[in-house]
């Protein structure tokens, strides 16, 4: 069966520090991968998605970036965090094809101080 992992589970970082969040999927190959953010009391905001290694689509211009160095690995990064980057970050995957049902990871709670 397929599983999706995110780490770390929680993170507290100072403003201006770098960020690296990792997402890994097991039990499937060539998944579509997604990064979402939930700010406090708000809905889901799609940040990036990837349909293959090295292919990244950005949905919202901001100081975050994403990379997909391996088929089942998706990384969210920032060179300098802002207070507004605080939130709950969710990674998701789907097998592609019609319907795009997505399966979500457990999330990473990021607090920028």
């Amino acid at each position: 069966s397929q599983t999706i992992h995110q780490w770390p589970a929680t993170l507290v970082q100072p403003v201006g520090s770098p960020l690296s969040l990792e997402c890994t999927v097991e039990g499937t190959s060539n998944p579509n991968l997604y990064w979402y953010r939930q700010a406090a009391g708000r809905g889901l905001q799609l940040l990036f998605y990837s349909v293959g290694i090295g292919q990244i689509s950005s949905e919202v211009p901001q100081n975050l970036s994403a990379s997909r160095p391996q088929d089942r690995q998706f990384i969210l990064s920032s060179k300098k965090l802002l207070l507004s980057d605080s939130g709950f970050y969710l990674c998701a995957w789907n097998p592609g094809g019609p319907g795009n049902e997505q399966f979500f990871g457990p999330g990473t709670r990021l607090t920028v101080l």
Partner: protein, 111 residues
């Protein structure tokens, strides 16, 4: 542009009462539709999905949803709510390579 609307930000239901959460979509063709649930501090879990066929879809945890093309709706229902159903519920529709989510409805369950 494709969009999904959940008009209720919060809903409070008494335990044991019935529940209906509203979802409306704006799509050119018959969409693929989903309902997800999110407990605090957790990821999203798929409750049910509609692709085609029978317009009444059964899901996990006793939930069901009905697709109504004439009303562009995909409302989520449960006949008797349990305290453990308190969570955030998201409706979504499949776009090209991604899902379009509604803004969510927070369900509160009163004793």
């Amino acid at each position: 542009a494709q969009s999904v609307t959940q008009p209720d930000i919060h809903i409070t239901v008494s335990e044991g009462a019935s529940l209906e959460l509203r979802c409306n979509y704006s799509y050119g063709a018959t969409p693929y539709l989903f309902w997800y649930v999110q407990s605090p501090g957790q990821g999203l879990q798929l409750l049910l999905k509609y692709f085609s066929g029978d317009t009444l879809v059964q899901g996990i945890k006793g939930f069901e949803a009905e697709f109504k093309r004439s009303q562009s709706s995909f409302n989520l229902r449960k006949p008797s709510v349990h305290w453990s159903d308190a969570a955030e519920y998201f409706c979504a529709a499949a776009g090209f390579q991604k899902l379009v989510f509604g803004t969510g409805t927070r369900l509160l369950v009163s004793p």
